[in-house]
Symmetry: C2
Amino acid sequence: MPTSQAPTSQAPTSPPLLADDRIRARYWVETPFPLEAAVDVLAGEQSCGTFTRLPGETDELRQASGAVVERITRLDTCAQPSLPMRALPPHMGSTPVFQRAEIDVSWPIANLGPSLPNLHATVAGNLFELKEFSGLRLLDLQLPVAFAQAYQGPQFGIQGTRDLLGIQGRPLIGTIIKPSVGLSPQATAALVRQLVDAGIDFIKDDELQGNGSHNPLKARVDAVMPILRAHAERTGHQVMYAFNITDELDVMRANHDYVLAAGGNCIMVTVACVGLTGLAWLRRHSQLPIHGHRAGWGMLSRSPAVGMDFAAYQQFWRLAGVDHLHVNGLRNKFSEPDASVIRSAKRCVTPMFAAPAKGCEVMPVFSSGQTAEQVADTYRAVGSTDLIYCCGGGIMAHPGGVPGGVQSLREAWEAAVQGVDLESFAASHPALAQAIAAFRK
Amino acid sequence: MPTSQAPTSQAPTSPPLLADDRIRARYWVETPFPLEAAVDVLAGEQSCGTFTRLPGETDELRQASGAVVERITRLDTCAQPSLPMRALPPHMGSTPVFQRAEIDVSWPIANLGPSLPNLHATVAGNLFELKEFSGLRLLDLQLPVAFAQAYQGPQFGIQGTRDLLGIQGRPLIGTIIKPSVGLSPQATAALVRQLVDAGIDFIKDDELQGNGSHNPLKARVDAVMPILRAHAERTGHQVMYAFNITDELDVMRANHDYVLAAGGNCIMVTVACVGLTGLAWLRRHSQLPIHGHRAGWGMLSRSPAVGMDFAAYQQFWRLAGVDHLHVNGLRNKFSEPDASVIRSAKRCVTPMFAAPAKGCEVMPVFSSGQTAEQVADTYRAVGSTDLIYCCGGGIMAHPGGVPGGVQSLREAWEAAVQGVDLESFAASHPALAQAIAAFRK
């Protein structure tokens, strides 16, 4: 299996990117051209250069505005290009060698200012198409603190989310309303009633359930919110419901306001579908936590030879203002390897900027084929309970029904945090025992 | 060279996607699992299904909301997965076979309504990560006419752009201000003066030149616009300047207004960096043509095994409201093959919807290593002069300077449109003759 070809960001031997007043990006590259020359093309193309040196490109201008290649570390070579190319270098014969490398490039922030859309064009713009490269992937970023000053970042983040629910020291146990799309508002509400009665902490719409005519957002809010309000009054416990308001800006604002007025406590947005400027705009208006779904992420991440690592991707959305961000889960139903899931989750809770600047930490959201079975491994790998742990079938398909499913997840996390073996804990916790029996493969 | 592995959308043998009230998408897929079952997973995952059939997923609900697999056409097979996978199917031995296919899938519009962000989540959301596929690429879309009614589309388009400049029957000859970034507003203006004196039709900022402190947008407008206004007064010819206002929404609005008040006639936006909702929002406000730059497109297009074809990509941005859209150029400095460039350009001028709905046609923008040398081939392949033809070095590095560069491009297009051989035409057109001598490889 070719999973080993995937570049891994932050290889242990790579130095950290310097935090100063320059924009710094790390790339994995592959080229059949002389490596240093190819990297120079990249730096030129993404700053002051073009394919021929022009009269206006003086030494002073290059000094002030040129991108700087800070480091080139050669990695392995290969005999076939990872991505199709227009042509090989003319000097190459029938046995070309494709050199791989990790490189660091930096830009003066004066080129663009602390602007996320322009940052995107600079570090993840036209360079992927350069004919010099048979592979090019953005691995990581380190941004100047001016970005932390220019952007609001998460409004609630980890602690703000916990405080809204009064839950400390354990993850939020969550689920996704399924079927993803097609349920009526009333059927959604009936499911919500089951879930809150079973002790769930967090519920979200599916990313496919937006504002379709079978289940318009406002009708869904009208149907669901009375159940959540009654539950809070009866038990004293708030349940968080992330209403998917993904849409055009005016619709999102109206629907945010509608959720807020109904006493709702979270909105969900598929971040790449809304886009950077739309999300930053929503953040400026929002009074609720923004649950960030990353649908479409596979387009950028699935090929190891192009696109970007989550280490870079998540920084855009954190600055723009999400409070939660999806990271997949261990042994998920998608193609992402477990090591990548864990790296992503750890990055979400790692500050982007050193104090006194805000760190923009967000709550990682685990989901996709999750049950009580992955809990211990998740906790061991992440080393934190600052996360939302979403299960669909892991709750719905539990032999004890929804209450058994929720209970089994609570128990699995208790066991993990206490450092008790899952089977030992299950001996005195029947819901957990049932989950093991049902879901162990 | 592995360029042949690239899927080509609209293979001649594939039937066109039906235009009706369903959302229709075409994909290229590759899977080691039984093909029909894998495709069913995709359809389920992107509509009402999940990995286990849930109580609420009734037959009625599936009938109303399920995605329908409309067609599966088997293509070739391969012995290695194009993308890394978590695991192979358990039944496979040591010689797995990866089946490739072209498939059409459709959704009822009631699932989401005519909403571009939710369309993105549906047709280009979580499916790329499905563990069943070792390759999955969105090739094309056919949208219900409800999208044409819900979105404004291009405000100026091809004819509106021509009318602003009074140019009919030939392409707009354009250039990009270089060095890309680092020039002062005054140096930019000096270059603009040279260009307009030479008879250029269209000038654009580089996508890296946004609103940095060395060349703030407003200072650039202040420096450039007096030259363009004086030129128009003196000659009666308007030159179009696409000011790159890519930024957060409030800044973009203020800068659009500033350009408009100064008598400017175009704004430029890097579409993927701004995002879908930001662009649609800008279109609602804008009184100027929106020049759409596609920086970042390589992330979605460069691997043939994932991402999307331009045939699908451009539909999002046309509906959201760009008037011009970049398509690269023949024999460009990037990795895109010529056939792909031509396919893209042709799609830009092909209506998205049948009359009486608006077609949302936009002007394709050719650029990247273009000179007089590619003109005849471009015209022959596209069969139209409805395009913007941008050259950097092809103008600046012409032996006759900027005037010679611009003149040579006008002449090359005259020759092409008249069907005269370039060399014969050059015999009586010295600027063209100089271009051939300088740029022929």
